[in-house]
Amino acid sequence: MFTLRSVILALGLLLASDALAGKRSNTLEFAFQRETDFVDRIHTDSRESATLSSAIYDTLLYQDPASGQVTGLLARSWTWVDERTIDLDLREGVKFHNGDAFDADDVVYTVSFVIDPENKLRQQESSFLFVKAVEKRGPHKVRLTLSRAEPVAEFQLAARFLMWPAKYTQAQGHMIHATKPIGTGPYRAREVAPGRGITLTAFEGYFDGPKPKAKIPTVNIRIIPDLQTQVAELMAGRLDFAQDMPPDQAENLRVNPALRVLYGDTIRITFVSFDAAQRAGESALKDDRVRRAIAHAIDREAIASRLIGGGSKALLAQCHPAMNHCVQDLPRTPYDPAKARELLSQAGQTGLTLSFAASVDLKTVAEAIQGNLAQVGIRTRIETAPLPTWRRNFLDGKSQMSVLSWGGGGIYDASAALPVFFDMGNADYARDAEVADWIKQAGSTMDQARRAQLFRQALGRIAEKVYTVPLYTNTANYVMSAEVDYTPTRVDLPVLSQIGWK
């Protein structure tokens, strides 16, 4: 006999049945918080496009997300002919998702496109323009001629140098990759619905290489802007994978037996920048002793372990310890409030008040530092703003003291962390010509011993003069269904083809 309860239950099942996630449906329901402008990392460069690009496309070289080491991908091997010439032997037998065979013509077409300044791609100068020319030297052989000595060229070739099918792209126009992307990657795009999501299906013809083949047949990526809604979807079992939850939220989800919360290391770092060069007007931060006092007053270990958590580590240098040439044996400023007070007294700065800027996402870190500084008698006025506004103020030279984070494009080299903040440009608040020169030289020589020496000099001076206070390594969190099998890598974005079922 029908009861009201049974009717309601049946109706509920009918309504909810269209979105079952998990192993049973063999479809991974995956959430993005933001929509990406383009699927491919040639047109844009964001975390979302990087996640999708690594699934749909392949790059010439491959950076192992766990070790950071570079190996061949679409290029089976490569040879440095001289400081400005690289010969690439391309992998044979590789097919695009539309059946086209991959060869040197595709590389010549794609590289010619990305190095053409007329195409005005985002971050074209730093990502692509170190390549001056590309030349076909055989059906599966190409030569790249560089415009400058580029010590991190291999990392760059593994980042945004993904390959398009030449014939398809020429016929349809390059914008076709926004809606109907075709690559050689482990997943093919079945449907791109701007604003709603993307459905990927495993590419059966994917070659045996260093990048794993797809483990789950279908991945349904949904755009869910609100994190609370993502949490609700996870708890209701209609979402299998989400990322970048606020730390407290992620910790709360740990108690749910149907979910797993994992943390991964990232190459991103967070630090405090001082206006040593007095760009924002005259202040006590001109004095080395005041900057050193602030460094001694900040309890980096506590911020890393208690506030950030998830394996975050206190930094010893102005770069990530996993980066090449990021030396760690530098002058240190350990947590020592007594020493901080002594230095402030020596500098004649008692009752000091400073303005302290932070983007909204770093407000809690700024508040923790504010508490530390209050203990040594420094008052701070925290000024938070959305990231774009904060960034504009920072670049306009209006920051007396800021807390900021920097990812360096995922390149495992000190040159990814330093030049932006020490090049005498808009983001440089130290304006130390020698430091800028050392870093510039390190970025333009292929001699690794010389680079090591130059970076040691630069990092040593930055630490000695306390131009910054390196705080901690950032971590990424991933919340997933207990049925999902995934091991976080050092790259702070999930590698879709590494995700499987338990």
């Binding site: 402008d37 701007p194 802007p225 708890m235």
Partner: protein, 305 residues
């Protein structure tokens, strides 16, 4: 009437111009569009290059004039980020927002008018007070909070409804309920006051004295008169719902105009934001005008002008 309609249309255009000028200024003062366009890991030099490439180094009034000139020629422009034509972006998402607004309005009317009638028929009783409490709550509760409560109860605990997305009609249940909760109180209270006023008129009293059945009295004499202002409010509410679904669409990940506006505001994609602002302003103004015309047609005592 034609003169009045024309002058109201002119007002609509003026509203659109004002809204777009204010929106443009606020949007451009709230962040650095060049930094957003250059991308997350862009160097300061690349940000400057993006500023020049997109003409963002020109004075703001000149940028606004350039955009307005293109608009006057019927070109809404393209998104600065995806390069999609803005008109296409809006048209693609309009059905979701329209669906949501119309569903919410229907629910508000279907529940709000009978509740208002009921309250008017039983003034100063528990029914009246209960409906008043419901109206106050509906107006006072923030929609994002109500949305989350509905999600937790019906999506997570009971698992009766989908939580996010716009794939099926079932996906519209919770967003419609959330949006309707904000539109319902106004309709209910207006129906109640209209009915109370109608019930106290001489013609209703006369009809009652003649022994007319209470149900007929309500349906034939009181309700049609009470519903006139409700009709006008319903049209205005539809305009409000069209523009007011930003929060609801972003919480429930409904890919409508509201969510598009939210995303575009966050990154300063001004051609998209401007076009949505103008669309909503025009929709609101025109719906109000339509309500006035409908009122004038239904009630001969009302004359436009």
């Amino acid at each position: 009437m034609l003169r009045t309609v024309m002058s109201r249309l002119l007002v609509a255009v003026l509203v659109a111009v004002t809204v777009s000028a204010v929106g443009f200024s606020l949007l451009r003062l709230s962040g650095d569009l060049a930094a957003e366009l250059a991308g997350e890991a862009a160097t300061p030099a690349e940000i400057e290059s993006a500023r020049i490439k997109h003409g963002l180094d020109r004075p703001l009034p000149l940028q606004f004039l350039g955009w307005s000139r293109a608009l006057a020629a019927g070109d809404l422009g393209r998104s600065l980020f995806t390069h999609e034509p803005v008109a296409e972006m809006i048209l693609k998402r309009l059905p979701v927002t329209l669906q949501l607004a119309v569903y919410a309005l229907i629910i508000s009317i279907v529940i709000g008018i009978p509740l208002g009638m009921l309250a008017a028929m039983h003034p100063r009783t528990w029914i009246d007070r209960l409906s008043l409490v419901a109206a106050v709550l509906g107006q006072a509760v923030p929609s994002f909070w109500l949305a989350l409560v509905l999600i937790v109860v019906f999506g997570v605990m009971l698992r009766w409804t989908p939580i996010s997305g716009s794939d099926s009609w079932a996906h519209f249940i919770l967003p419609t309920a959330t949006l309707a909760a904000s539109a319902l109180p106004g309709l209910m209270r207006l129906t109640r006051s209209g009915m109370l006023e109608a019930l106290s008129t001489d013609y209703v009293r006369t009809a009652r004295a003649k022994g007319l059945a209470e149900r007929t009295l309500m349906a034939v004499h009181a309700l049609p008169n009470a519903l006139l202002p409700v009709l006008a409010l319903a049209a205005v509410q539809l305009g409000t719902l069209l523009g007011g679904s930003v929060i609801v669409e972003s919480v429930f990940a409904l890919d409508g105009i509201g969510l598009l506006a939210y995303r575009s505001i966050l990154r300063g994609d001004f051609p998209v934001v401007q076009s949505i602002l103008i669309f909503v302003a025009l929709a609101y103004t025109l719906l109000t005008l339509l309500a006035d015309i409908a009122n004038a047609i239904i009630d001969p005592r009302i004359r436009l002008g």
